[in-house]
Amino acid sequence: MKLMNRNLISNAALMAALFFGGAGSAAAQDADDPMAFVRGAQSWADNCARCHNMRDPAEFRDDFWEPSVLHMRLRAGLTGQETRDILTFLQKANDPADNKGENK
């Protein structure tokens, strides 16, 4: 049931992307945006060591980073886009399997 919903959402996102040519900023699109990771890495470097020492992306699991980054959005006055990009980056950068892949 939930899987089907997800498919509907992805179809809707595709339609939206076709119509608006990427101008929208709905969360559903961001996971499909190949540049989100790159932007996220930059925003992370720009923002996440301003108030405190940089926290290691590998410190938390994906689902733990979500409330933490939302918390930091409020502390740091980040925009929604920056927050989603940073979350994408962190959830990617903490992935041990992926690091292995890249170092091959």
Partner: protein, 394 residues
């Protein structure tokens, strides 16, 4: 089915990419590379979201403190603090954040305080509503630096702790957010209205009657007055943030306070607070500074202590701090100077500290610092001491 999904994904991706005019050949290969990674990422995110629509996350910090060499206090351990933070997130728009501070006091008893507890609603990409008890949005230290794993010295700057000159916490609502300006230039803001501080009439037996400023949020609006204010942060480059903050309102004597009955019928006064702060990061060097001034207007009809406190009351504190982490090592050095000026002359002093930190990890730090308090009143001895703190942020 899966393949179809992937084709849709890449189609959407290429449309997105072309729409933002980034698709030169170099980025195209990067995109192809990222695409396969993103596909894996999506699977990941999917599996996370399916079973956890609400998320509970615990964070926080703990520290153990010790003091030596002070004339005012015996050598020994002075604090064991445990400050858990709870995050409860529902969807990507609602967050509850709450921090407890549990501390063992001088008598061995545990004190528990709610540092903050707010419900945060994300209204749009640029604005969130924060409601509840929050750390004062005036300046930086209270909201952004006070946790022990963040503060680079074992102590708060003079005037920025309890009983100082900087407001501590507030009960009310805030609108907060960020605004992208041009290039990497950005701004952030916090606008708030809250119960604000109250005046407390202090009449210790045998001592002069004094008016004090209480800036710790209470769950009732003791004086019935609201305060309106905010802070704007401006980042011309990501490494530099300049902040200006302020609030305005009326302040009165809190009702229901043990000793405030002495001041029944005391008229309300004007209240203003002004703050300026700056932080600059250059590689492993961090410079930080802050100035805060709270002013309670004069009141000719003040009846407290037979009209002894009719004049304006001013509470001012500032500090400047430099911290340098020796590159590629775990060592960090810190120096800080500061000053406090209040109507309570006994507390007024300037202060300097110098410290050395060893970072086991970025959030596990042992700090040792030497601090000198030089009291304005020459009759009061200077206080010199070593503070040691082990801090862990989690």
């Amino acid at each position: 089915m899966k393949k179809l999904h992937f084709i849709k994904l890449s189609l959407a991706a290429s449309v997105l990419a072309s729409g933002t005019a980034i698709a030169n050949e170099d980025t195209e290969s990067k995109i192809a590379n990222l695409e396969s990674q993103i596909a894996a990422l999506r699977e990941d995110v999917k599996s996370n979201n399916l079973d956890t629509l609400s998320k509970l996350h615990m964070a926080g910090y703990a520290n153990v403190d010790a003091i030596a060499g002070s004339d005012r206090q015996e050598d020994g351990f002075t604090a064991a603090r445990f400050a858990p933070i709870f995050h409860f997130q529902f969807s990507d728009r609602v967050l509850f954040e709450g921090e407890f501070e549990a501390e063992t006091d001088e008598n061995g008893e545990s004190e528990i305080a709610v540092e903050y507890a707010t419900i945060d609603l994300i209204l749009n990409d640029y604005m969130a509503l924060v409601a509840g008890k929050f750390l004062s949005p005036i300046g930086q230290f209270r909201q952004n630096v006070h946790p022990s794993w963040i503060n680079k010295l074992p102590t708060a700057p003079v005037g920025f702790g309890h009983g100082g000159a900087a407001p501590l916490s507030d009960l009310g609502v805030q609108l907060r957010g960020g605004i992208p300006l041009s290039g990497s230039m950005r701004a952030n803001y916090a606008l708030f209205t809250s119960n604000g501080p109250t005046l407390v009439v202090d009449a210790d037996p045998g001592e002069e009657v004094e008016i004090e400023l209480e800036t710790e949020a209470a769950a009732s609006n003791g004086d019935g007055n609201f305060v309106y204010g905010g802070r704007v942060g401006f980042l011309p480059v990501p490494a530099l943030e300049l902040g200006l903050s302020g609030a305005l309102g009326k302040i009165g004597v809190a009702e229901g306070h043990d000793v405030s009955d002495l001041a029944a019928g005391e008229p309300d006064r004007d209240y203003t607070v002004l703050g300026a702060d700056a932080v600059y990061n250059l590689d492993t060097l961090q410079l930080r500074g802050e100035f805060i001034q709270q002013t309670v207007g004069s009141e000719a009809n003040s009846a407290v202590a037979g009209g002894a406190v009719t004049e304006e009351l001013e509470y001012t504190a500032w500090y400047a701090q430099a911290a340098y982490r020796v590159p590629d090592t775990k060592w960090e050095g810190v120096v800080r100077i500061g000053d406090l000026d209040t109507p309570g002359a006994d507390a007024n002093r300037s202060q300097w500290s110098a410290g050395v930190n060893y970072l086991f990890a970025n959030h596990v730090i042992i700090k040792a610092a030497y601090t000198v308090d030089d009291y304005d009143d020459n009759a009061i001895d200077d206080d010199e001491r070593f503070n040691i703190q082990l801090a862990y942020g989690f």
